[in-house]
């Protein structure tokens, strides 16, 4: 997921489906329908929309299917024409060493940037919801602006700063850049969770003579954890797929997207498709299992309540 994609995810957050609560169902008012009213008039429209939706979703999945299928291609150098089915690419991913080391760099950068951004962002989110302070609106603006700035400007800006300061670009500068654009997304994600937290729970902890640290680690933190985990996953996904900002601040270091960009002119090895497909399957598995566990929790709550 690129940074821009995080913006879209953040935009959809706060909807019932994303929050894991059942959607508000507006049951139609069944009475009062006119006998020849609109219910009958648009029978074509009734089929048009579902069919369109199905076709649109298939369209969105075409390049994914292509990437996945060509990860099994028995390719020699470039992976453009189909030459036969093989599992070799999946079994020997690291035969293409450049791909593998770029992938390793991406993981290292993603994990480091995620840890830093999640820590800093969570602290900001807690402060924003729980405390009053001056310059609140300027701080909100400062958190909002990185999400509204084109990536190419963020990348060129940081590169200009590093250039002026004489910093040599490498993995360290990539981590600095990724942490920067992840912070805002962590704040948005965790803030939603902090706002929904019942302050009475923490008051109860204090009433029972819990020290502030005890209250935080035993009450606040566990309750915030789902939000923090979601923010961390989002950060990692953003960092892992970022290309534009990385390209400006990487120097000679390579990440997985940068490898793909450079290799694009002379042909992408099938191993790159393997890595992308594997990452895709893991991400989808995570999302689906989250959905299933949320559904199970809803059912349990419905039974208890």
């Amino acid at each position: 997921m690129t940074m821009q994609e995080g913006r879209a995810i953040a935009a959809a957050m706060g909807t019932p489906a994303a929050m894991g609560t059942p959607a508000a169902v507006n049951t139609p008012v069944s009475g009062g329908r006119k006998p020849n009213g609109p219910a009958r008039r648009f029978s074509l429209g009734r089929w048009l929309l579902p069919v369109y939706t199905a076709l649109a979703l298939v369209f969105l999945l075409i390049p994914i299917a292509y990437t996945f299928i060509f990860s099994f291609n028995d390719s020699i150098k470039s992976n453009i024409s189909w030459r036969g089915f093989t599992l070799n690419n999946w079994l020997n991913v690291c035969n293409a060493q450049d791909v593998c080391s770029a992938f390793g760099n991406s993981i290292l950068i993603g994990v480091t940037a995620t840890v830093i951004a999640t820590t800093l962002g969570t602290m900001i989110a807690i402060a924003l919801v729980r405390y009053r302070f001056r310059f609140r609106s300027s701080i909100s603006l400062l958190l909002f602006l990185p999400m509204a700035t084109p990536e190419v400007v963020l990348g060129a800006g940081l590169a200009a700063e590093f250039l002026g300061a004489g910093v040599e670009k490498g993995i360290g500068t990539i981590i600095i850049a990724h942490t920067m654009f992840c912070i805002s997304f962590v704040v948005v994600t965790v803030k939603a969770r902090v706002s929904s937290l019942d302050p009475a729970l923490e008051e109860a902890g204090r009433d029972l003579y819990g020290s502030p640290a005890q209250v935080f680690w035993r009450i606040t933190f566990p309750l915030l954890l789902p939000g923090i985990v979601a923010a961390a996953l989002l950060s990692f996904a953003l960092s892992f797929d970022d290309f534009i900002i990385t390209n400006f601040n990487s120097g000679s270091a390579t990440t997985f997207p940068k490898f793909v960009y450079i290799a694009a002119s002379r042909g992408i090895p099938a191993e790159a498709n393997v890595i992308a497909s594997a990452v895709f399957l893991i991400a989808i598995a995570l999302v689906v299992s989250q959905q299933v566990s949320a559904a199970a929790r809803r059912k349990r709550l419905a039974r208890v309540g």
Binding site: L49, T53, L57, P63, F70, I80, P150, G157, T179, I284
Partner: protein
């Protein structure tokens, strides 16, 4: 909405007065980080954009100056690319909106009674996010290449001239931008339509309004926050994108956008002042468009 996520005025009012020293401690590291690696870069971009070539004439070495003419040079030299960026971005935004609205409407309104199906369709909408952005663009490059079944089929049906191409043309670039940013449009539209109270639509049809009139006068205005959010989320990254338009991906010789020019000036030609001034121009134009657009469409609580 991402663009109103920081607006929540209600939370502010409810926030209890507590020791601001703890708040400072919580805020300081993160805010300092953003100042150092977001604000300072913007300032250094501004300084770089005004630099003049070094007196010794070395390539890639510049001195601090106040060479505002850099902006004039950039605009005259790259006027085509600047205009093209905004044209492509506008087209991609319009196509993405037309593509996404029915999709988001079906997921958010029609599929309400089946939450499982609704969630499944949402996962499918964001599925492209989970496969590398560059690889999915390259996938389209292969699927639209001259040897591909799609293009040869079009040529066999005489829908495309025998010597015509799709990749390397503006059509392919706008197509790529549209495809890559469709989920950005669909998600906020879904978020708005999901909250749409269908009783308003019934009230409209009960008053004998034609379904199209109901759609135009009820559905569209009620989903306006989603449209605004989606348009911004699509337009901003599309205008600054340089992957789709790059020659190794879907673009060709005549499709370079402002992002491509910034990249080549910064990383290849080492002409930092030109790259910086173009970045500043891009940022200013986008901020201006966003401000005007938000004012016009009446949702002023975005910031």
């Amino acid at each position: 909405m991402a663009f109103s996520a920081f607006a929540s005025g209600t939370v502010q009012e409810q926030a209890p007065r507590r020791k601001s020293r703890i708040a400072l401690l919580l805020l300081l590291p993160g805010i300092l980080y953003l100042v150092l690696f977001f604000l300072v870069p913007l300032v250094s971009l501004l300084i770089t954009s005004l630099q003049a070539p070094s007196a010794l004439g070395d390539i890639g070495v510049y001195e601090t100056a106040f060479q505002w003419q850099n902006y004039v040079v950039s605009i005259t030299q790259y006027g085509d690319q600047i205009l093209r960026s905004f044209l492509y971005a506008v087209l991609a935004t319009v196509f993405a909106l037309i593509f996404s609205y029915p999709l988001a409407y079906f997921i958010g309104v029609k599929a309400r009674n089946w939450p499982l199906l609704q969630n499944l369709m949402l996962v499918l909408v964001i599925a492209p996010f989970f496969i590398s952005f560059l690889l999915r663009t390259l996938a389209w490059k292969s699927l639209l290449s001259d040897e591909s079944a799609f293009v040869t089929g079009l040529k066999a049906l005489s829908l495309l001239a025998p010597d015509a191409h799709i990749t390397g043309t503006p059509v392919a670039v706008v197509f790529g931008l549209t495809y890559n940013f469709i989920p950005f449009m669909t998600l906020p539209l879904y978020a708005a339509l999901e909250r749409l109270d269908t009783r308003y639509l019934e009230a409209g049809s009960d008053l004998y309004a034609h379904p199209f009139t109901v759609f135009r006068t009820v559905t569209i205005p009620l989903s306006m926050p989603g449209i605004v959010s989606g348009v911004l989320l699509t337009f901003i990254p599309a205008a600054g994108d340089y992957v789709n338009a790059s020659r190794e991906f879907l673009g060709g010789t005549g499709t370079a956008m402002i992002g491509n020019v910034i990249e080549s000036n910064f990383l290849v030609q080492l002409n930092y002042p030109a790259a910086a001034s173009l970045s500043i121009i891009l940022m200013v134009v986008i901020l201006a468009i966003v401000t005007v657009y938000v004012r016009r469409s009446g949702t002023e609580d975005l910031l």
